[in-house]
């Protein structure tokens, strides 16, 4: 618990960060940039977890663990995503989302 700071304020920071990530996710055209925005999203969520744990259930560490796991999964996700991006770049020499539309009808 941070002296003099309420849980609402921390959560507000988390929410703003989250939607900044959303904005980036929706507007960026580059796959790596989208990945960066995704990391923002994950971090915002992790912060939320930790804050709730700290302020509402200080006896336990569940939120704390979730934050740790989110970090681990994010690392995994980034590793795989970057492997795919590098491979894709070799394939079509571009990492632009608009070029990656093989799923289109």
């Amino acid at each position: 618990m941070i002296e003099g700071v309420s849980i609402q304020e921390i959560m507000a920071v988390s929410v703003i960060l989250f939607f900044i990530g959303v904005y980036g996710f929706l507007t960026r055209r580059n796959l790596i940039s989208i990945l960066i925005s995704l990391d923002l999203l994950l971090n915002a969520v992790a912060l939320n977890m930790a804050a709730i744990n700290r302020y509402l259930h200080p006896d336990n560490f569940q939120g704390h663990f979730f934050a740790v796991f989110i970090i681990a999964v994010a690392a995994a996700e980034v590793a795989v995503a970057i492997a795919i991006i590098v491979d894709l770049y070799r394939l079509i020499h571009s990492v632009d989302v608009e070029e990656v539309d093989k799923l289109k009808y």
Binding site: M1, I2, E3, G4, V5, I7, Q8, E9, A12, V13, V15, I16, F18, F19, I20, V22, Y23, G24, L26, T27, R28, R29, I32, S33, D39, L40, N43, A46, L47, A50, R54, Y55, L56, H57, P58, D59, F61, H64, F65, A67, V68, F69, I71, A72, V73, A74, A75, A76, E77, V78, A79, V80, I82, A83, I84, I85, V86, D87, V95, D96
Partner: protein, 169 residues
């Protein structure tokens, strides 16, 4: 004092976050992301979660950002400037994000969170014991699952990134 620190960190988080998603130089975006992650670690320190902050710094700031930088250097030149999305899409995304912030903040501030007064110290040993316990609130199984996931990811990343070179050789 701590309150001041918090506001400072929060402002820098939001500022660097905005820069991350708006910068047109991708390498700079990665560096701004690094600052956001570091700020997050600082928040964890403030909350007393030293272990979490350390993990954040080591894994995210130390690992992920480096990985991203590598990927950028592998695919683009340093000077690469990103194209902008169509204006319509930008506007829609902006509107939606603002609306989301509005709805969420409304929800957060209209909800009456219970006050918990007791605040025990966070002991490292307690974290370790709960993380590796099989009893109530124990997290041993997810812990192991995560380790297997990481292994699979490692293998998968190598296989994917190695790509089609196998055939050529």
């Amino acid at each position: 004092m701590e309150r001041l620190l918090f506001y400072l960190i929060a402002a820098s988080l939001i500022g660097f976050g905005l820069l991350t998603v708006t910068s047109r130089r991708i390498l700079r975006a990665a560096v701004y992301l690094f600052f956001v992650l570091a700020g997050m670690a600082a928040l964890y320190f403030l909350m007393g979660y030293n272990f979490l902050a350390a993990v954040q710094l080591v894994v995210y700031a130390g690992g992920v950002v480096v990985l991203i930088v590598f990927a950028i250097l592998l695919t683009h030149g340093i000077d690469h400037r990103l194209r902008l999305a169509p204006a319509g899409q930008m506007l829609a995304a902006l509107a939606l994000s603002l609306a989301g912030i509005g709805v969420s903040l409304f929800a957060i501030f209209s909800y009456d969170f219970p006050k918990v007064l007791r605040e025990p110290e966070v002991e490292m040993s307690a974290i370790g014991q709960q993380l590796l316990s099989t009893g109530k609130n124990g997290y041993l199984l997810p812990f192991e699952v995560i380790s297997i996931l990481l292994l699979a990811v490692m293998v998968g990343a190598i296989v994917i990134a190695k790509g089609r070179k196998m055939k050529n050789s």
